[in-house]
């Protein structure tokens, strides 16, 4: 033996080997029967699960496609184009996001509304999700809060590369967002007057800093986030 491989057994019991094996069987059997007889806790917050008590399984598995842990709010997921209250994109085709994108994965063609002499809109807004490096600069650069990465989804997998090229029809989704200063809330639009009133009522002041406030929150805690997700009714039940 060229070098000492293992620490020598100390004490009679370890030298006899069999008693230690019996103790090992005991330890393992405890796990076995707990996992056999008691069901797995499906709380997505693993740390909040009860442990080491009678009636609990030791299993911490999350059965991924069926059960999911909520992502933290700062999570940069799939892009979306934020709609206005009337369903059109907030985007004014200013090319800021396309300019700042380090991967050059955003392609925009600007157009004008016939009835609106002030604002442009994107005739084409295409993101190549295969080139995107998920840095979030586009979200930071947008002056109108028109592009967000708050969907909480991965880019879905596909068999075709072409399916990873997302155009404005697929990108425009999610809840609409309105701000006090939004021009279309102050002049005539396709919306009925009552709907304009409603949109004005939910409008918020524009944030002074980055668009996603939660991602700036210090002291990020999985437990708190899971509790919030549970309160929202997400992720709790499989």
């Amino acid at each position: 033996m060229p070098y000492k491989l293992q620490p020598a057994a100390t004490g009679l019991r370890e030298s006899m080997y069999f008693p230690e094996v019996l103790r090992g069987i005991g330890t393992v059997a405890r796990h076995f029967f707990r996992n056999l007889f008691f069901s797995r806790d499906k709380n997505p917050d693993i740390l909040a699960r009860p442990r080491d008590g009678f009636g609990t399984s030791d299993n911490v598995t999350i059965q991924y496609p069926e059960e999911r842990q909520p992502y933290p709010p700062g999570y940069r997921g799939l892009h979306r184009l934020v709609p206005r209250a009337d369903g059109k994109p907030r985007c004014v085709a200013c090319y800021m996001c396309a300019t700042i994108c380090p991967a050059q994965c955003i392609y925009i063609e600007a157009g004008e509304y016939e009835d609106d002499p002030i604002e442009k809109y994107p005739v084409k807004f295409v993101i190549d999700e295969l080139r995107c490096i998920v840095c979030g600069f586009c979200v930071e650069a947008c002056p109108k809060d028109a592009i967000r990465m708050d969907t909480g989804e991965h880019t879905p997998p596909s068999y075709e590369r072409s399916e990873q090229i997302w155009d404005e029809k697929r990108l425009l989704r999610g809840p609409p967002v309105s701000y006090h200063y939004d021009p279309w809330l102050r002049r005539a639009s396709t919306l009925s007057p009552e709907d304009v009133e409603k949109a004005r009522a939910i409008a918020r002041p524009f944030p002074s800093m980055a668009t996603d406030e939660a991602s700036q929150t210090p002291g990020f805690s999985v437990r708190a986030l899971a509790a919030e997700a549970k309160a929202r009714g997400e992720g709790g039940a499989a």
């Binding site: 491989l5 293992q6 620490p7 020598a8 057994a9 100390t10 004490g11 009679l12 019991r13 370890e14 030298s15 006899m16 080997y17 069999f18 008693p19 230690e20 094996v21 019996l22 103790r23 090992g24 069987i25 005991g26 330890t27 393992v28 059997a29 796990h31 076995f32 996992n35 056999l36 007889f37 008691f38 069901s39 797995r40 009636g55 399984s57 030791d58 299993n59 911490v60 598995t61 059965q63």
Partner: protein, 448 residues
């Protein structure tokens, strides 16, 4: 809690299913005996029919089913004791994973439809023969496992006569010698597989297998000599019958009570014979892959399955010799007198329950212990098991000479069990039961 009651129901149901299997075994004897010999228990035809029924039910119905299910059980049970879930992706009707049991079919399909790859330069005849040689002797061991008690033919439906029929393929007087003979034949399959594959790694695996198995033959045999002395027979049915109730008051003359050391020695050696962890050096998937590295498809499947058949058979032998076989000890004599058929069926069920516990124990140990180093394997055999077994033989012989009623031997056995229990339970370096589940157990033990 739903799972708790569900699992309890499943386990209780399993016991009833096993008793039912025992009943099916005896009913099959009745049916085939009637078919071949017209029902009179003493006629040759009836005995032939009963034997045929036993062969079919025990080999196909019990051993092959158990071995196939063990392949799934290995995944699920190892998952349970490692806090995982285990194989559950095959779902019947898209909903029920049924504890992973459908994986048996998927595995069989995979094995049978795989491409058959053969290495160049192999010795073709021996290469093809080796899986059979590995499988057949192990399978032949099933013949002497006494699953059910012998009962008079007249108590089996459709049969008459006083001849005793048992749920067992054959009960030769040389039962234990038969086991040793065929267990040592199994080494040819592995050694030849390693040699015929024209692969250095396979050859290493084959050499390791032969040296390990031949070494452990010795302590395998000596572990049982104590039982032969105590029960004064080699036939397994006789050994089971000798483990009668009422040796020390209510305590029966169980093999594990009379021979705890013999049990440990035999069980360890049997474990080494199955070539599974911690004795899986012939396979050693992380270093040499082993003697079956060049086998693919069902030829590999046969080698793989022979390990599981070996587990089943060794569980059966240990049950018969050390755990009282088909004795269930509650209301046994009353049931044997008044309802001999149900006595036999429940006895067979009890045997199968004990067998399942032992199979579970073997899988647990396989997942508990890391692989031995090669010198540790040989040291454990020649320096620990062999002297222990020899000392056990001398002590047993002396105790039986002094007190042929086996009471002295039982007291010695009880003392041994108490010593082992105290040493196991005593707090040592590893600390209390709470503290020792962590890092201290990951430390390998040397010196053997």
């Amino acid at each position: 809690m739903k799972r708790f009651f569900g699992m309890t129901a499943v386990l209780v149901g399993l016991v009833f299913v096993l008793v039912g299997l025992g009943a099916v075994g005896y009913l099959g004897m009745g049916a085939l005996g009637r078919l071949f010999g017209g029902g009179a228990g003493d006629s040759v035809g009836t005995v032939l029919g009963a034997a045929l029924s036993n062969i079919v039910v025990i080999t196909l119905g019990l051993v092959m089913t158990a071995a196939a299910l063990l392949t799934v059980a290995e995944r699920k049970w190892s998952a349970l004791l490692q806090n995982r879930i285990g194989a559950n992706r095959i779902k019947v009707f898209g909903r029920f994973s049924l504890g992973g049991i459908p994986y048996v079919l998927a595995d069989a399909l995979k094995m049978l439809t795989k491409e058959r790859v053969e290495p160049t330069g192999n010795t073709r005849f021996i290469y093809q023969l080796a899986p059979v040689l590995a499988f057949a002797p192990v399978f032949a061991l099933v013949a002497v496992v006494p699953i059910g008690p012998p009962i008079a033919a007249s108590s089996i439906p459709l049969l008459t006569g006083a001849k005793e029929l048992a749920f067992q393929i054959a009960d030769p007087d040389v039962g234990l010698l038969f086991i040793f003979a065929f267990a040592s034949l199994a080494v040819y399959g592995t050694a030849l597989a390693g040699w015929a594959s024209n692969n250095k790694m396979a050859l290493l695996g084959g050499v390791r297998a032969s040296s390990q198995m031949i070494s452990y033959e010795v302590s395998l045999g000596l572990g049982l000599v104590g039982c032969m002395i105590a029960y004064e027979t080699l036939g397994l049915q006789g050994i089971v019958a000798a483990q009668r109730p009422g040796l020390l008051g209510p305590i029966p003359a169980l093999g594990i009570l009379l021979q705890p050391i013999g049990f440990l020695v035999f069980f360890t050696s049997a474990f080494a014979e199955t070539k599974r962890a911690p004795f899986d050096l012939p396979e050693g998937e992380s270093e040499i892959v082993g003697y079956f590295v060049e086998y693919s498809g069902m030829k590999f499947g046969l080698m793989f399955l022979s390990e599981f058949v070996e587990i089943v058979v060794l569980s059966g032998i240990v049950t018969a010799v050390f755990l009282g076989g088909w004795h269930f000890y509650f209301y046994e004599s009353w049931l044997a007198q008044h309802h001999p058929f149900w006595f036999a069926a429940i006895g067979a069920g009890a045997f199968l329950v004990k067998m399942i516990v032992l199979m579970w124990l073997q899988l647990v140990i396989r997942w508990l212990l890391p692989r031995f180093r090669y010198d540790q394997v040989q040291k454990l055999c020649w320096k620990i098991l062999l002297p222990t077994a020899l000392a056990n033989v001398f002590v047993t012989g002396a105790a039986v000479l002094l007190d042929p009623s086996l009471r002295l031997l039982a007291w010695i056995g009880l003392a041994e069990i108490v010593v082992i229990g105290v040493v196991t339970a005593a707090a040592g370096r590893a600390g209390t039961a709470e503290g020792h589940s962590g890092a201290t157990h990951a430390e390998p033990v040397s010196g053997h």
